[in-house]
Symmetry: C2
């Protein structure tokens, strides 16, 4: 399928997408700027989606526009966090849930890898101590 054969959703038009405010397009432009910063300067950044004037329809449109990528991460520290790469590599849709399963926060993270996935080196060192204890019990 050619790119120009894909129907384009006019975000500012009324009709079947009446709940769209046009703000999702603005966020999409901001994401593109941040991806440019990542490519040009290696600089990672985030956008707090719940702090933006976006309706549920805007969020759906944004998510659909960004598409679904290959990498999906779940992380459980208290509530569950989901970090889904979009079809734009380096653009991650991050959702943190509270203990009751509700959405506590939602971000776009523009980064080679989301910060939360990286094991803090202090934790790695503490884990090594436990590993050495386990090994000393073997012999």
């Amino acid at each position: 399928m050619k790119l120009d054969a894909i129907p384009v959703v006019a975000v500012s038009a009324p009709g079947p997408h009446a709940a769209l405010t046009g703000n999702a397009g603005v966020v999409l432009r901001e994401i593109a700027e941040k991806v440019r910063m990542l490519v040009d300067a290696g600089e990672a950044s985030t956008i707090d989606l719940l702090a933006m004037p976006l309706t549920a329809a805007d969020l759906d449109w944004l998510r659909e526009s960004l598409g679904n990528g290959e990498t999906h991460i779940s992380l459980n520290a208290g509530g569950e966090s989901r970090l889904d790469e979009t079809s734009c590599p380096g653009v991650w849709w991050v959702t943190h849930h509270n203990g009751q399963g509700g959405v506590a926060s939602a971000f776009i993270e523009v980064a080679v890898v989301p910060e939360l996935v990286k094991a803090p080196i202090d934790d790695v060192a503490a884990g090594l101590d436990r590993l050495n204890l386990l090994i000393s019990d073997l012999s």
Copy 2:
């Protein structure tokens, strides 16, 4: 529960764990050395589990000893890959499946973050081109 109250599996002993060869303990020591390299020198490394003389029971014992961590990653590029952090931060159990769902390879990756999760910067740049195309269609 105190640490010394946890029953220790004697890997070299016969009996209920007869299929254990003792090699899993050797691999566990190698993992600890590699974690030490990560902590001291920031150097990441991998161990090819299928290239080691490990029985299925050895692998089960190793996996159980390393425990289950907070971060779980699935990645689909052809076959599915699973990258599960163990309870030792920075020690990842990585399994690649072939198109038929069988295990094609299995690794221990000792790293702050598994290499495969990082978006290659060339892919990020290509994604930016697509994003800009999408944005130019909005106006």
